[in-house]
Symmetry: C2
Subunit: 341 residues, 2 copies
């Protein structure tokens, strides 16, 4: 631990109140992440419940503090209204901790809309970006393939798709280690020009982008991992994410029924668990960083348990330590120069 | 066979030249369908190759004739150009056979674009419908759930989505036997108003439609079969169809690898085949009728083998004998009256 301890710890603000399993699983995941090293944790939440959860863990040698907040923005609550009326809710206090330099990143399993609102308003967005986007790998058998946007921005302008391409390519390179990430546009035919008005217009921008743009991919190419960054309108990306989950759930249940009593219980459990896991990647992995904002905000799945929370905090750590935000902002500037040249 | 023979045979024009496995599998499937009864088959194609294939089968007691055509519209060929320059290609001659009353339906495994063009131009469309739409069940574990449109019309106007709802509801009731089919709009949130501009505007039309409109469903609801008719833009529907196929292909291969040597070969083959089958329904089933045209045109999968061709011909038979087209046209008129009232 001596070598580890000498490293500078990266302070991370964790929304202790957000998510279906808050605060218990959030606190447990944060403690786990602190044990794995290199991070100090600021748990943002109602002090009473958070202290009660912390008391269940052995915190010896860990850097964990509490930053008090009041209440939580619920799933489904209008984020803009919440920002006006609940300024001291956990997600807004966590964003504020980053804004004022007490933390380097925020992590939340709570309302995605609220986290996006907090990051957008409190961190601010890159020049020309109106609203943060969300994306990441969606399918466990193609873990190097990210889809952007997955539901934040619908009715996207073509320029937004080109922006996602640039922001995703940097994440793929910097955080996932892809050398020269292939960028593709999700469409309904492989040939350039196939698609709708939006994809046809975006194609021209992507061709001029200087990115490693390989053209269109179709939806069946996503599970085959035929590109590292696949850009699409948030409506379409959300359909891709949720359909993947739905197919996994129903197939897993069907296979269990079909094979009950015919193969060993251990094998059957393993098959079903694997089908579920690879089709529910966002739930299994902690989450991914928001795209387009001037700060690191990792948005996790509402159903996250301690392991996923820990994983989300590790993602935040990596994203900070590799300077993703600075590199993404620079790449976006370059892209704007390239397509306007 | 005496009772069967006394029934009036429904004449069906089959495009013998269209599809990856034409003419061999098309002819074999047509022969099979004729054996199952109630149809007479008009094979439309280049006489030489079609006769050569027919010679391989025992045709005793079957009603099968050849209607000569010249050439075929290839996948990827521009349908409008093909219609101008290849008027005697198999798909156009097959449509013409229906138009002139020699056949009651056409079936093709060839270029979907060409079949749509042929049906649109030669049959004509219902009042207010610009172009035929495509749809049907996509997922074997939700066989009663059809998705419309699946790739024919992108950048749909809200009125088109309402039209698909009416046309799909009639098919679901008349051909699939659903008593009061639930109609839903595919969106990215369950609450009314969640979605994009297109879905928000369509919601108002659907509420006024008099259909059994249950509101929005999300993509994970499709595999769970939470509605009989799910309407969406053709871009989104095509993504749903192809993603389903892609997930099935990759999962099936993965499970085979994970379990090789650990469960019996028969069980392993069965699991993988089942995963493939339920996620490749359009390939396994012959195909479905086009929506919005004044005639029955069943569009099949390019990869169809004889069994799928036979199944497509049976679908055409059912669609004709239950008067789907007449009922759909009447329902569309009623819908237009309802939403304009």
């Amino acid at each position: 631990m001596t070598a580890e301890s000498s490293k500078e710890l990266i302070p991370i603000a964790v929304d202790a109140m957000g998510g279906d399993n808050a605060p218990a699983e959030i606190v447990a995941g944060a403690v786990q992440a602190a044990r794995e090293g290199d991070v100090s944790i600021i748990l943002v939440g109602d002090p009473g419940p958070v202290e009660a959860e912390l008391a269940k863990h052995d915190l010896t040698g860990l850097s964990i503090s509490i930053e008090p907040s009041e209440g939580v923005v619920e799933e489904g609550e209008a984020p803009a209204t919440a920002y006006m009326t609940k300024r001291n809710a956990s997600i807004f206090r966590a964003a504020s901790a980053v804004r004022h330099g007490r933390a380097k990143a925020l992590v939340s399993m709570g309302s995605t809309g609220a986290t996006i609102a907090a990051a957008t308003v409190v961190f601010g967005t890159f020049d020309g970006i109106e609203r943060a986007a969300l994306g990441g790998p969606l399918y466990g058998l193609a873990p190097g393939t990210m889809v952007i946007d997955i539901g934040t921005n619908v009715d996207c302008k073509p320029q937004q798709l080109a922006d996602y391409a640039a922001l995703g390519a940097v994440l793929s390179r910097v955080v996932f280690g892809a050398e020269n990430p292939r960028v593709a546009l999700l469409s309904i035919g492989a040939e350039a020009g196939k698609g709708n008005t939006q994809t046809r217009d975006a194609t021209e921008l992507l061709k001029a982008s200087g990115l490693n743009f390989i053209g269109n991919v179709e939806a069946n190419d996503i599970p085959h991992g035929r590109a590292e960054v696949i850009v699409c309108d948030g409506f379409v990306g959300n359909v891709v994410m949720k359909l993947t989950e739905g197919i996994g759930e129903t197939l897993s249940a069907d296979i269990r029924k079909q094979l009950a009593g015919r193969v060993g219980q251990a094998e059957l459990d393993e098959i079903c668990q694997r089908i579920y896991d690879v089709t529910n990647l966002p739930e299994a992995h902690g989450g991914g960083p928001l795209f387009g904002v001037k700060g690191v905000a990792v948005v996790g799945h509402g159903k996250a348990g301690a392991a996923a929370v820990c994983s989300a905090i590790r993602t935040a750590h990596t994203t900070v330590s590799l300077n993703y935000v600075e590199q993404a902002e620079a790449e976006l500037k370059r892209l704007r120069g390239a397509v306007n040249a």
